[in-house]
Amino acid sequence: MRFLFKTDYAQDLKLFKHSGQVFWYATLVLLLLAAPFVAGEYLMSQLQFICIYSIVGLGLMLLVGFTGQISLGHAAFLAIGAYTEALLQARGVPFAVSLPCAALTAGMFGWILGLPALRLKGIYLAMATFAFNIIVVEVLTRWEGLTGGNAGLHLKPIELFGMKIDGDQSFYYLCLGLTILSILALMNLLRSPTGRAFVAIRDSEISASCMGVNLATYKTMSFALSAGLTGIAGALYAHKISFISPEQFTLIASIELVTIVILGGVGFIHGAVLGAGFLIVLPQLISIAKDYLPSGVSGAGLQSVVFGLVLIVFIIFEPLGLYGRWLKVRTWFELFPFYRRGMFRRQKSYMKSERLR
């Protein structure tokens, strides 16, 4: 068991609580930096996807996990980021400019979506977000003059400060770097007044407002930041697959993004990364399992069934997600042999009406 003895206030502000954490995270970062030299092409590709979806996961975690809002339409922001990047690159704008533009454009739309969200809660907000998603995808499909419609847009490799970033290695480092920066930014937010205001809104809007938190400002800010992060991921995504079309960003995609947050663990930064990893790995496992199906049974539906079952099982049995399970395992080891069953059990409650939030 480890005891943290606190001697001054600055300790609570530190990013890493103790030297053990520093060691393990440093090791992880070193392994990730070394990956291109030991991993094959396939694994590199998967790692890049994990980085990109981690950034989306962080954006969604900020909105859902930390501010308590809902978004079933985040693929729209991914699309906005991707298309902004594609269109700007086609017009010769350098990546160092087009990436922030993608983020800002997505953030702006996020802010716009946040405005009506001020009056909407729960399921109404969820519906507004997915209606937004459907409309954005439809606009992208119909505005053929700008977006090429269903024919989609192609992207050239990134050129950053004169360097071509098209190899596995350089693109991977770009994605990894942006992921780490996003994580740091989110952690900084959470130990500052802004982050506390978000959490306050999540737990009790009325008393947050009475403590001086301007709900309108902070809710739209949360939407904007969340959308901005997703916009960055969108720009990277566009370059990763080199070809974007509206049908990649439908409601189905949005739901997959939300599952990152749910499977990873709502309210934990680690959850975003774990969820992203799981989302990328799951289809691979399903493909392997397809080979074991009896003949006559089509494999097409297996992905759908497993995905749905995983979602259901996680929500019923592991509401804290993958990170929650890891926390439980780690606590078991830390407190050994004093771990008590039920330490993480949530209180059973009768349905509390959310119509009266």
């Binding site: 009506p116 097409a300 059973k348 009768y350 009266l356």
Partner: protein, 294 residues
């Protein structure tokens, strides 16, 4: 001439709207009782369509028997889903439960594509109304459309009588307003919830059968169910007459948008209406607003 055109579109809109109304009705029943929004409602509809298809084509039963079969089987499926998947999460926040229903939708779609004999193909569904039409004063009525409207009206009437006069119906109303108080009054809340899911799934099956001639039966048929959301919101989430009215309005808006607006708008028209309603009057036409007392 113009009036005829308008009436024609109105008829088409109302007929399609009946289907949306039924799916929205299923939503609203579940929402009223458990405050759960069932994203799998459309997929329940799809599964009901497949059961009806099986009864009709493979087992060769008459139309009315297949309706009964599909409704009863789906009612059982609905109750099973509630018992296995939803009861463990009773009391968790609404968002969590919504995600579970989304998971259920995925499982239903996947299972349907994996069943040999169903798979990913599209099937036509035979009905006794087929392609007959008749004319009243310049407006062409398709027997199919009229049948949909009449059957929907019949079902809605039956449900109204059920909720108003039967013991179970009144118990359901009580559970939907205050679970704890209903439990204290001796109402078996969990069982009632299960039955509401059964009822909702049965209604969804009915909607699937009515929809099948129009969209054909296939595993993605349930996505039309998404259009029931604007319907339910428009009418006022939590209001049964609202769901019907909302569904009809959405159907009509779609019909007129398809005729008068450029291509593509037809699909999003309903969602634009949804957004407008949410911004202007989230409680919808018949819904109530409530606020928390601190």
């Amino acid at each position: 001439m113009f009036l005829n055109q308008v009436l024609q579109l109105l008829l088409a809109g109302v007929a399609q709207g009946c289907v949306y109304a039924l799916v929205a009705l299923g939503f609203v029943l579940i929402y009223k009782a458990t405050e759960t929004v069932n994203f799998a409602q459309g997929d329940l509809m799809m599964l009901g369509g497949f059961f009806a298809l099986t009864a009709s084509v493979i087992m060769g039963w008459p139309y009315w028997a297949t309706i009964l079969f599909a409704v009863v089987v789906m009612a059982a499926v609905g109750m099973l889903i509630e018992r296995i998947v939803l009861r463990p999460v009773l009391g968790q926040p609404a968002f969590t439960v919504v995600m579970i229903t989304i998971g259920v939708g995925y499982v239903l779609r996947g299972v349907v594509t994996m069943v040999p004999g169903w798979g990913t193909d599209t099937y036509t569904f035979p009905t006794p109304f087929a392609d007959g039409t008749f004319k009243i004063g310049g407006v062409i009525f398709a027997v199919q459309q009229v049948a949909v409207i009449v059957m929907t009206a019949a079902l809605v009437t039956v449900l109204y009588l059920f909720f108003r006069f039967s013991k179970l119906g009144v118990a359901m109303q009580a559970t939907s307003q205050n679970q704890l108080a209903a439990a204290y009054m001796g109402i078996p809340v969990r069982r009632v919830n299960m039955m509401i899911w059964g009822l909702s799934a049965g209604v969804a099956a009915f909607a699937g059968i009515l929809l099948a001639p129009v969209t054909f039966v296939h595993s993605n048929m349930g996505f039309i169910g998404l259009l029931a959301f604007p319907a339910a919101v428009l009418g006022g989430f939590g209001s049964v007459p609202g769901a019907i009215v909302g569904g009809l309005i959405v159907g009509v808006v779609e019909a007129f948008a398809g005729r008068h607006l450029p291509e593509g708008f037809k699909d999003v028209a309903a969602y634009v209406v949804l957004l407008l309603v949410l911004f202007i009057r989230p409680s919808g036409i018949f819904g109530e607003t409530a606020r928390k007392k601190v």
